[in-house]
Amino acid sequence: MSSQQNIEVETEKVPAGTVIRPKGDIDLSRAPAFRVEVAKCLEDNTGAVYIDLGLVPYMDSSGVATLVEALQLTNRSGVKLALFGLQERVRSIFEIARLDTVFKITETFEQAQED
């Protein structure tokens, strides 16, 4: 039995860059697939990266690690990365890991686009 599961990730081109929209829990079973999808988007992307976590009810440190990696890659290439729409349970893990001030985290996409 495969130990990894796929994750549905929608991407949408917007004038300022790309919105990445994963759906479902992101834990050890889905984080590897999420990492691949995020890496693909970063390769193809030239503008800012906005990750919509509104449809992610749960995330553990495996998912957070993928986002930290994405943040480091975007920082290196001078690209903006912002997270928005986090559910309370997901926001909580960023606070526990004290990453809520490292990432730009907003409630809405409009706020995420502000500098």
Binding site: M1, Q4, D27, L28, D60, S61, T66, E69, S92, I96
Partner: protein, 157 residues
């Protein structure tokens, strides 16, 4: 079959496949809310169990599926009221003192699991088992809820 006072209330045996993490989280969420933890506390306990299992699967068993993991759960009564969860594996042993979260100021992927477990649980211990593997004990106390009487403060008795 009769149980003894030291027997756990619930025992779960699973194998080291990440696919089972969601089911275990669901069980912990349901159980902890049933015994009186609020939604946030239940979420934290489920997160701590998930992170412990993730560490065992990833680091203990090197992501190899099919290896044994046992959860034993006690619903503790009395002064220490709450939930105690013991998670045992047969993975490689490491010194408990070497199990520590990374410095949170050092922003990098990974190394957050142990920090999260210690942050959200009241007690967390790592031990080597006598024969093989490791044992993690997690404890969360159930605290009396504060009752907000402000809305009814003017209600005559």
């Amino acid at each position: 079959m009769n149980s003894t006072p030291n027997d756990p209330d619930i025992r779960v045996h699973l194998t080291s496949n990440p696919k089972y993490l969601a089911s275990v989280r669901g069980m912990i969420l349901s159980l902890t809310q049933t015994i009186g933890f609020d939604v946030v506390e239940s979420g934290h306990i489920a997160l701590a169990v998930d992170e412990t299992l993730t560490n065992i699967i990833r680091h203990g068993y090197g992501l190899e599926a099919g290896n044994p993991i046992n959860l034993s759960i006690w619903l503790v009564q009395g002064e220490e009221k709450g939930i105690r969860i013991v998670i045992e594996d047969e993975a490689r042993q490491i010194e408990p003192d070497d199990i520590c979260g990374r410095d949170l100021e050092d922003i990098k992927p990974g190394g957050l699991g142990v920090h999260i477990i210690k942050d959200v649980m009241d007690e967390c211990t790592f031990e080597k088992r006598d024969d093989m593997g490791m044992r993690v004990t997690l404890m969360k106390h159930l605290r009396p809820k504060k009752i907000d009487c402000t809305e009814n403060s003017n209600t005559p008795r």
